[in-house]
């Protein structure tokens, strides 16, 4: 479990995250939602240890994040950022193999290669192993990095953690659902993985998250199950959007249907 206790993050005088407490529990998918600039990515960076909180604490397995050695931490916790800067010609399989870095002593074993290959299969890119990474589309690249993260914690001995920042932003609808279903299966099937994921699509969160943290202006507006958090009131307050919440026609989950916004009245457009 990763536990954030009253975490505050500041950039100069601006408060990016304001006393947020949240738990990423094993066996669960936690979605972090909120408008642009709400502090979602900053909170995720604090949960990963990339950013030290200016106030409060973050613990992983009960131990302060800063007390972990980087390599030790990397063996149980994988992170996928919004975008990666990799611009050099690498084979796709070698990019996934980079996820094995914290476990490699001298050189990658056949076991490492096998796991990289399985992870690539898991994201549906099995046939891309020998392709050159720069030739891939944006969505394919995102899936390669998801596979890299999977390979990183594939054989972690006990609890493990997966932190994803908008992993579906570049994906088409089929791959969005595939990726989220994979992530959910990962959390649920063996119940050893805690997933925290920043999302923009409310319905994707409603469908795949066990719990949702709603942020606005760096503060936690609501935490709880999708049906408890995704209410018309909460959405109006957080996003300034009018929405009707209807039951999903096929499953027991809420479906958010936004009503045409009047946030930008036409008379202001010249």
């Amino acid at each position: 479990m990763i536990v954030a206790e009253s975490v505050t993050v500041r950039a100069r005088t601006k408060v990016l995250v304001d006393r947020v407490s949240v738990e990423a529990r094993c066996g669960e998918v936690l979605a972090i939602l909120g408008p642009n600039g709400a502090g979602k990515s900053t909170l995720l960076r604090t949960l990963s240890g990339e950013r030290q909180p200016d106030g409060g604490r973050v613990r992983m397995r009960g131990r302060l994040l800063s007390d972990w050695r980087l390599r030790e931490r990397a063996r149980v916790r994988a992170v996928v950022a919004q975008e990666s800067v990799l611009a050099f010609p690498f084979r796709v399989l070698d990019v996934v193999l980079m996820g094995r870095t914290p476990r490699v002593e001298r050189s990658e074993s056949a076991h490492d290669e096998h796991i990289a290959w399985l992870a690539l299969q898991a994201v549906g890119l099995g046939t891309f192993a020998a392709r050159s990474y720069p030739t891939l589309s944006g969505g394919e690249r995102q899936r390669v990095h998801l596979a890299r993260a999977l390979a990183q914690i594939w054989d972690a001995s006990s609890e493990r953690y997966l932190l994803l920042d908008e992993p579906t932003s570049g994906l088409d609808i089929a791959h969005q659902h595939e990726a989220m279903a994979l992530v959910r299966r990962l959390a649920h099937d063996l119940a050893r993985t805690a997933v925290a994921v920043v999302l923009h699509d409310l319905n994707l969160a409603a469908q795949y998250a066990d719990r949702i943290l709603l942020l606005r202006g760096g503060r936690a507006v609501a935490t709880g199950t999708p049906s408890a958090v995704l209410t018309a009131d909460n959405l109006r307050h957080t996003f300034g959007v009018e929405a009707v919440i209807v039951p999903h026609p096929r499953a027991a989950m809420p479906l958010v249907v936004p009503i045409s916004p009047n946030a930008f009245p036409m008379e202001h457009i010249e």
Binding site: R45, S48, E50, L70, R71, E72, R73, A74, R75, R77, A78, V79, A81, S84, V85, L86, A87, F88, P89, F90, R91, L93, D94, M98, G99, T101, P102, V104, S107, E113, H114, W117, L118, Q121, A122, A129, A130, S132, P134, L150, Q152, I153, W154, D155, R185, L186, D189, L190, T193
Partner: protein, 366 residues
């Protein structure tokens, strides 16, 4: 997770690239050996490969492989062999330093020469020559031979640090800034060298030309040992950072998420490359473009994976410099073209081609 995702009758795909990489490295090593045998054999006194073998064998106490003249033996052992071995050491050190810096800056244009590191080392070395005699005329010859590499090392360390500080803001290296800083530093060190030429005596002037143009003419066994000692750490330790350099290509935060102690890796690479580049400049002046061309060719042929790139660039850099030096001393024989001119004549057009090609792909100046 292995339970969550059915592996089924999964078999690993045929991806023999790891093996291909090893085979390519083997071929490159052969290229270095072949180039060396040619290079030690060509010159005013010709030595056939079999005779080279015989002379080397006799030095080890094994005689009778082939006949050779005493003049051939002395030319090989005291002139050609140290020169070729020095070419190998310098070429490998420059190329691996270039490859490591390109990984560190996450950009294929970082080169010890282009960003002003070699010229920083050269300025420090020339200052030592010109001012050293004035300030410490009593210094024994032995101390002077050591003082030069140390000064060159400090010069390259200072410039590396300066370029890095100027071009890197919060973990991101602005390439345009880096190259512009390189131009400024090259101009500055050029001016510094200019001032020194005003102070220099005639024999010193000749030495200054040697630094700025580069030459392997001064190759002796002691010079070779100094270069070997100073570049051995880079040649041995940098390949062990290949996974860290790979991870760094993903970004610094990503590398940390993969368990890499990024700051330590950066410091290690800056120190190791400064040491290696300083050594090469002290021994043979500025030799440009090897650190740019060798890694880039390996990337084109074998990909960007540092596990192959670093040793591959070192081997190719060694072979390139052996052949470039062979050209430098045979094209206008008995005179010699300074090797820095040869590598620049070959490397500068290559650099231009690289810029045009990358500009078309739009990859370099993000």
């Amino acid at each position: 997770m292995s339970g969550a995702v059915t592996a089924g009758s999964l078999s690993l795909p045929a991806l023999p690239l790891a093996k291909q990489g090893k085979r390519a490295l083997g071929l490159l090593a052969l290229l270095v050996v072949a180039a060396s045998f040619v290079a030690v054999g060509v010159g005013a006194v010709g030595i056939a490969p079999a005779q080279t073998l015989a002379i080397l064998a006799e030095s080890l106490g094994v005689g009778g492989i082939s006949d050779f003249a005493a003049s051939q033996q002395s030319v090989l052992l005291s002139i050609r062999l140290p020169r070729v071995l020095l070419s190998i050491a310098v070429g490998a050190a420059l190329a691996i330093s270039g490859a490591a810096m390109q990984g560190l800056f996450r950009n294929p244009l970082a080169d010890p020469g282009l960003v002003g590191i070699s010229s920083g080392a050269a300025l420090a070395a020339t200052a030592t020559i010109v001012l050293g005699e004035a300030l410490a005329p009593e210094l024994p010859e032995a101390a002077r031979t050591l003082l030069l590499p140390v000064a060159a090392f400090l010069g390259s360390l200072a410039t590396t640090f300066l370029v890095w500080r100027v071009a890197t803001r919060s973990g991101h290296t602005a390439v345009a800034t880096m190259l512009l800083a390189g131009i400024a530093l090259n101009a500055l060190t050029g001016a510094g060298t200019g001032v020194l030429t005003l102070l220099a005596t005639d024999p010193q002037l000749r030495t200054l030309t040697f630094w700025t143009l580069g030459s392997l003419n001064g190759a002796t066994w002691p010079a070779l040992w100094i270069v070997l000692t100073m570049s051995a750490p880079a040649l041995i330790l940098i390949p062990r950072l290949s996974r860290a350099l790979n991870a760094l290509l993903l970004g610094e935060a990503e590398a940390r998420h993969l368990g890499i102690e990024v700051e330590r890796v950066k410091a290690a690479i800056v120190l190791l490359t400064a040491l290696a580049v300083g050594a090469t400049v002290a021994a043979c002046g500025m030799i440009g473009f090897v650190g740019l061309a060798a890694p880039h060719l390996i990337r084109l042929l074998l990909g960007a994976d540092h596990r192959v790139l670093l040793p591959g660039a070192a081997l190719l850099g060694a072979a390139l410099l052996v052949l470039a030096d062979l050209a430098a001393r045979t094209v206008v024989a008995p005179a010699e073209v300074p090797i820095g001119i040869v590598t620049t004549l070959l490397g500068a057009p290559f650099f231009l081609w690289l810029m045009v090609r990358e500009a078309e792909h739009g990859g370099l100046f993000r």
